[in-house]
Subunit: 154 residues, 2 copies
Amino acid sequence: MTNTLTFRLATKEDLFDIVQMLSDDTLGVLRESHEATLSDNYLKAFERIAADPNQELTVAELNGEIVATFQLSFIQYLTYQGGSRAQIEAVRTKSTYRGQGIGTNVFEYAINRAKEKGCHLLQLTTDKRRRDALRFYESLGFVATHEGMKRNLD
Amino acid sequence: MTNTLTFRLATKEDLFDIVQMLSDDTLGVLRESHEATLSDNYLKAFERIAADPNQELTVAELNGEIVATFQLSFIQYLTYQGGSRAQIEAVRTKSTYRGQGIGTNVFEYAINRAKEKGCHLLQLTTDKRRRDALRFYESLGFVATHEGMKRNLD
């Protein structure tokens, strides 16, 4: 990449851009609401995330334009002798900026941020249908040692 | 089970019992420190968990004896239209009480607790070497749709 990304915590004003990125995706389009005005649920969710010091909803900017987003969660456990972990979810690069190494930069940032916060591990789960994502994460040193299991509660 | 389990948040006084359960396990024994006195790291970790309203380190008691432990985390996301999820980790039943349905009761509790907190999903990751655990989670309605990927930061 010729230009450097800048990373910062998301603000309320970024919400529309973020939700657009979340829905502009083969799986995301099925589950997000992307009308011209955002559902109030997104705003309430944003406020809960922003109020929690262990959650960092982050955006990456390139020349002032938001080109990627992700959420980092820092979770304290007793396991591993009281170790804490970072978890990364909802990682998206704007569709017009894919294939330019932005994802790699996002993970460089996330790894450094997790280390800064004293985490011994960065973890994620990825849908098994996302074959390219799996290969990408493997190239970054992630190992698929675990099954990621979900149970709907509806 | 003839007797009913009672569930409550863990206190500092339960820490020794909990760490014993975490280390009394084929994988856990490799990574926990289980000396007669607990390392201060466990106490510090406990205090951070207890101070966080989105973390519930829980114990299950049978006739006043701690027989199981787990940690529930409630994580707010923007995805799924601002949905929040529960995540369960560090689930252990005391070795002398295994095979008596305690795990099933633990998950009944966890599912209800996650619903009470308004979560649409309960998620976990399980080490692929734990074949029995995988079958157990599947019997409870969990589906292994995701790869659980980890990257050490040391």
